[in-house]
């Protein structure tokens, strides 16, 4: 399926989804509560079969915390981008997709480590790179007077 | 019977594959001409580096102790690690005009990642790479270098 068809198809799954045709990929914005069910549908639906999660990025949008999923189907060769964002900066929580794509396990740990987004139902949510005493360095409001030198 | 034949076949093919490996190492053992390592500090004199080799950043001076750096600071902006610092000073020219010229071009070799952005982006080609690669010193302070030589001047015709 090309980008437009894919967008239409995903729109037919649920009317709440916001579909945008990006430069490279079809971009789908999902409200956090629907994330898991849409991801599972995309993975299991015969027509989409997104079996390969090739990138999972956590972003600090300033006010919101967001996660971007890049999916690809190894059978059909089409790709889609899922975006979700939560306005809760203090205790951002999203559903884990690590039981749909096993690779999400490490990626979500990384996002948790660097941005502090908690993933519910994650099997082993520990910090990956940093010590427990560190803040969340990829947040825009992270301050570290010792290690970050600005000219 | 077949299993015994296979057993023997396994052994013979296994030993044969081992012998092939031994042939490779053995053939090198008896050909000392294939040795590639060098006696490094002894061959220092005839060791030639490639002319593009990025050893360290230098500022070439001509025989009159003149360099091309006008102190514009583009190298300082381009440096990703802040290893270049330019200290400039104002002088009063003969015709009474003020002019900012370079006082010290400080280069911290210990922080340099040899990305060549400073050399490439220099508008007046004042910087270059030398082929020096033996950078080890006993004191870390020696790695902070001043690139313009004392008493050097801006080359004529460079603005």
């Amino acid at each position: 399926m090309d980008k437009t068809q894919l967008g239409e198809f995903i729109k037919s799954l649920s009317p709440d989804l916001e579909i945008k045709e990006g430069i490279q990929y079809t971009e789908v914005t999902i409200p956090p509560p629907m994330l898991y069910s849409v991801a599972k549908q995309l993975r299991e639906n015969e027509k989409t079969q997104f079996d390969y999660l090739f990138c999972l990025t956590g972003i600090d949008y300033g006010e919101d915390m967001g996660v971007i999923y890049h999916l690809r189907s190894t059978i059909y060769g089409h790709s889609v981008v899922l975006k979700t964002r939560t306005p809760d900066r203090e205790n951002p929580q999203l559903d884990s997709v690590s039981d749909i794509w096993k690779t999400a396990d490490f990626h979500e740990r990384e996002v948790f480590d660097l941005l502090g987004i908690k993933f519910t139902n994650h099997p082993d949510l520990r910090r990956l790179f940093l010590d427990n005493s560190w803040g969340f360095p990829l947040r825009k409001d992270y301050v570290d007077d010792i290690n970050i030198v600005t000219k | 019977m077949r299993s015994i034949i296979n057993y023997l076949k396994d052994i013979i093919s296994g030993v044969w594959s081992l012998l092939k490996g031994m042939k490779v190492t053995g053939s090198y053992f008896f050909r000392p001409s294939t040795i590639v390592t060098q006696k490094y500090p002894n061959n220092r004199k005839d060791l030639v580096m490639f002319d593009r080799f990025k050893g360290e950043v230098i500022m070439p001076h001509n025989e009159n102790n003149e360099h091309k750096c006008n102190g514009c600071g583009i190298c300082e902006i381009n440096c990703p690690n802040g290893s270049i610092e330019i200290i400039s000073k104002s002088i009063i020219l003969e015709d009474g005009k003020k002019k900012r010229i370079i006082d010290k071009h400080i280069y911290r070799l210990s922080m340099c990642t040899f990305c060549a952005l400073c050399v490439k982006n220099c508008p007046s080609d004042a910087l270059a790479f030398s082929q020096e690669f033996e950078h080890a010193v006993f004191n870390r302070a020696l790695l902070i270098k001043t690139l313009n030589k004392p008493g050097s001047q801006l080359m004529k015709g460079v603005e």
């Binding site: - | 081992l18 190492t25 090198y28 040795i35």
Partner: protein, 378 residues
């Protein structure tokens, strides 16, 4: 040379001095008689024991140092490198420099280690290899002790080293060391069988376990040629299993530096580490000399049937040189193995022994016995 003067000044040495290179018993008997003339029989025995001890100790140290150097040079040449080349001409004194360094290195005490066993282990390893060297015939008349069960003695003594390795691994209180030691135990217990059986093949042919008799029996042809194919197979099997028994690559699972960092000697430093290191090389030398003695005719020169001239030329080379040459050949083979092959896994190592080497060995012994019974050997 002091040696020359002593010989020429003596009236009791009845042969020209160069003859002793062909038969060391001239020298040993001369020393014995001069000592007996000077002191009582009791003190003569004590002095002779001391002399033998010192000579073997010196020999041991020299062989160890030289083998370390040789290994480094051989592997360097196989790997397109120069190898040691800084200390002395061609880096000849490199190992001496290393030894001096090791002597001065701090002995790091290990917390929670079993102190007694930890310190005892290197001595057991080195003593085992030291004892085995006494029974090896180096040349005609240069043989410290000629037991009538020489082959058995060497096998027994050289396999004692594994106790030291087990102790080292156990007492270090290090998990990697323990794995290494246990691996080594399993390995040596298994491969001891193959070493023994491979030697028994030749013992069957020679009809004696006494090493001097075995060497003497090869005067008209080395056993590897005399014993047809079974002797050759036994030689190959001995080479493989003795490489395993000395914990050398590709069977160096006990130290396996890419898996266990250094295995049983991870926690050792300084001279204690040097003991392990030295013992490994001496063990290699011992098995090489056993292989040379039993299969390649020991110090016997190479003779071809009826070529009188050729045989005379071969006789002209002193037996000691023959012995050293053959041992060096076997040592080189073992180094060649080590620097060519990847390491086996522990279960494959045991599979190799129990499924391949041991059955082949047993059949081989039977064939050899049959050949000897029928008198088909040369």
């Amino acid at each position: 040379m002091v040696f020359d003067i002593a010989v020429t000044n003596s009236t009791s040495l009845s042969v020209p001095w160069w003859k002793i290179f062909y038969d060391f018993s001239y020298l040993t008997e001369w020393i014995d008689t001069s000592l007996r003339n000077a002191m009582s029989p009791f003190w003569t025995t004590i002095t002779e024991l001391l002399i033998i001890g010192v000579v073997i100790l010196l020999f041991y140290a020299l062989v160890g140092l030289f083998l370390v150097y040789a290994e480094r040079k051989v592997c360097a040449f196989m790997q397109n490198r120069l190898g040691p080349n800084r200390v002395g001409p061609f880096g000849l004194f490199q190992t001496i420099a290393d030894l001096i360094k090791l002597l001065f290195v701090e002995l790091i005490p290990i917390k929670n280690a079993d102190k007694l066993l930890f310190n005892l282990a290197p001595f057991i390893v080195i003593t085992a290899s030291f004892m085995a060297i006494a029974a090896i015939p180096f040349a005609l008349g240069l043989h410290a002790i000629d037991l009538n069960i020489g082959v058995l003695y060497v096998i027994a003594v050289s396999s004692m080293g594994v106790i030291g390795i087990l102790l080292a691994g156990w007492s270090s209180n290090n998990k990697y060391s323990l794995i290494g030691a246990i691996r080594s135990g399993a390995q040596i217990v298994s491969y001891e069988l193959s070493v023994g059986l491979a030697l028994i093949t030749v013992v069957v042919l020679a009809g004696s376990m006494q090493l001097s008799v075995i060497v003497e029996a090869q005067r008209d042809g080395w056993f590897i040629f005399k014993g047809h194919i079974p002797a050759f197979i036994a030689f190959i099997l001995f080479l493989i299993s003795s490489t395993a028994e000395t914990n050398r690559g590709p069977f160096d699972l006990a130290e396996a530096e890419s898996e266990l960092t250094a295995g049983y000697h991870t926690e050792y430093s300084g001279i204690k580490f040097a003991f392990f290191f030295l013992a490994e090389y001496i063990n290699m030398f011992i098995v090489a000399s056993i292989a040379a003695t039993v299969f390649l005719g020991g110090w016997m020169p190479f003779h071809v049937g009826s070529w009188e001239g050729f045989n005379n030329v071969m006789d002209f080379i002193p037996p000691f040189i023959w012995y050293i040459g053959k041992t060096a050949f076997v040592v080189f083979m073992m180094m060649w193995f080590k620097w060519t092959f990847p390491r086996l896994r522990i279960d494959q190592l045991l599979t190799l022994e129990w499924k391949y080497l041991l059955p082949i060995n047993l059949v081989n012994v039977l064939i050899m016995a049959f050949i000897v019974l029928m008198g088909w050997h040369f």
